[in-house]
């Protein structure tokens, strides 16, 4: 069960989820959860590059911090300035139809889970 939960971020991070759950006008914007290693972060420009992937097939996901993670610490999350390359984080974000694309709503560092 735990393994299934751990795989959810991979499945959620892919376009397949978007296809399976295409939003209708009455639904809220699709949210995404990524879990990965911070590759690069720039608190001034509010950009975050996250390494995700499946096995040896790795991908870089580029995101932009939303207001909540730029200026103040959200309820129980981190500011973008609080993370650094090498940190393993869970990032909740939403996709906008126009640039910047993926907007970060919440970041949290995660402890390494065991199964």
């Amino acid at each position: 069960m735990l393994r299934a939960v751990l795989l959810i971020p991979f499945l959620m991070s892919t376009p397949i989820r978007h296809r399976l759950q295409a939003p209708t006008p009455t639904q809220p914007a699709t949210s995404y959860t990524y879990v990965g290693t911070v590759h690069a972060v720039n608190a001034q420009t509010g950009t975050l590059d996250l390494i995700t992937g499946v096995g040896m097939s790795l991908r870089l996901v580029h995101m932009t911090a939303g207001p909540a993670v730029r200026t103040s610490s959200p309820a129980s999350g981190l500011r973008i300035a609080d993370v650094k390359p090498g940190d393993v984080v869970r990032v909740e974000c939403r996709r906008t139809s126009a640039p910047p694309g993926l907007v970060v709503n919440r970041i949290e560092k995660i402890e390494a889970p065991a199964r």
């Binding site: 990965g36 096995g55 065991a114």
Partner: protein
């Protein structure tokens, strides 16, 4: 039951272990159900099927099928292909160079990509400061390795060398922080992920778990070069391939003679089993053939510093000199030894061990010639 029939039953039960049918390389796990065997067979077909650009191959790839590399002595075995991997290790951190195409350098391109960009392999990442050659491992018993609980791997770890034996194994972690176990650097946590990632990294075959192609040295794939719709295999094809690998058994070691048994004892006595743990045990599984099963693994699934002479790339938390203890399952099928195939014989492979393995290596080298031969005879039985 009469007294005589009871004696016959006792006699049969005593004889049963010695009559147990040996498992040959490539055989499925004993005890699979008919349905599981059918999936093993269907998965073997996908594993061995040859992809073309029309069916999704590339545009970058190392091989046209899983079975092209994993072929010797049977499907799922080893092969003579050698891959190139690259990463950058800077200030104690590992960059897998995803922005430049990722750590696996594909050595072939489809005709369409060659026509578009004039390249016949993926460009080597300019930021790399580590380059590695990687031979093809056998994939026997990987389903068993997949089910060794993380708690067992953590229990074997001794990163502080508390027992002062010079060996300080530690687990690697994946990009999302889970304990790794697959790959020469133990970077990948599960067999399913390794397989899904390998379809893309090795053949350019996208699938529902990894539905996007790799970039070309950091640049997007030129328009019209990869016209096959993603994912290029479906979930069922991915799942049965995964089951084929998952259900491949550990081959039964060949019967040891007196010399081989002495070699097995020496292998332990000189300290090789400090990392090459003879047996591992799986956790609970709904698949009875994998459920709480002890198997001869000869690995602890941990990283060990093997010395600067063997160092190549970093990956996750593994530094350039760190390697996962290689499982010795199916060793008798191997023709070239160590992660990059630099050793032509088992003796050479042992002599090239360094770092944490230096003590065991030196004790091996100090053995009399016939004792060294006995250790090698034991290893060649696996």
């Amino acid at each position: 039951m009469t007294v005589s029939s009871r004696w016959v039953a006792v006699l049969l039960s005593l004889l049963a272990p010695s009559c147990k049918k040996p498992v040959n390389p490539g055989d499925p796990l004993p005890g699979l159900t008919a349905e599981q065997l059918a999936r093993f067979t269907r998965g073997k077909e996908v594993f061995d099927s040859v992809f073309t650009p029309h069916t999704g191959l590339g545009p970058l790839f190392n091989s046209t099928s899983c079975g092209e590399c994993h072929e010797d002595p049977v499907v799922g075995g080893t092969g003579d292909e050698v891959e190139v991997h690259a990463t950058a290790f800077k200030n104690g951190m590992c960059d897998p160079l995803v922005q430049e195409g990722g750590p696996v350098i594909q050595l072939h391109t489809t005709p369409a990509l060659k026509k578009a960009l004039g390249i016949d392999r993926e460009p080597f990442p300019p930021s790399a400061n580590g380059r590695a050659s990687r031979t093809t491992p056998v994939v026997f018993a990987r389903g068993l390795m997949d089910l060794v609980p993380d708690s067992a791997i953590l229990a074997y770890a001794d990163s502080e060398d508390r027992n002062h034996d010079g060996v300080h194994g530690r687990p690697n972690r994946s990009v999302d922080g889970r304990i790794g176990r697959f790959g020469r650097k133990a970077f990948v946590p599960t067999l399913a992920e390794f397989n899904a990632g390998a379809f893309v990294a090795e053949m350019g075959i996208t699938n529902p778990v990894q539905p996007t192609e790799e970039n070309i040295g950091g640049k997007p794939i030129p328009p019209g070069v990869d016209s096959t719709a993603d994912p290029e295999i479906n979930q069922e094809e991915l799942d049965v391939t995964d089951d084929f690998v998952r259900f491949l058994a550990a081959p039964t070691p060949t019967k040891l003679d007196r010399n081989g048994r002495r070699g097995r004892d020496l292998f332990s006595k000189i300290g090789c089993t400090g990392c090459h743990f003879p047996t591992l045990r799986t956790g609970a599984s709904p698949i009875l053939a994998l459920d709480r099963h002890e198997f001869a693994a000869y690995t602890d699934l941990l990283l060990h510093d093997m010395g600067q002479d063997l160092a190549d790339i970093c990956l996750g938390q593994a530094g350039p000199a760190d390697f996962r203890t290689e499982p010795l399952i199916g060793l008798r099928a191997i023709q070239h030894f160590l992660h990059d195939g630099r050793a032509a014989t088992v003796d050479q492979a042992i002599e090239l061990h360094g770092g944490e393995a230096s003590g065991a290596r030196d004790r091996f080298k100090a053995l009399a010639a016939e004792d060294r031969a006995a250790v090698v005879a034991f290893l060649k039985s696996l």
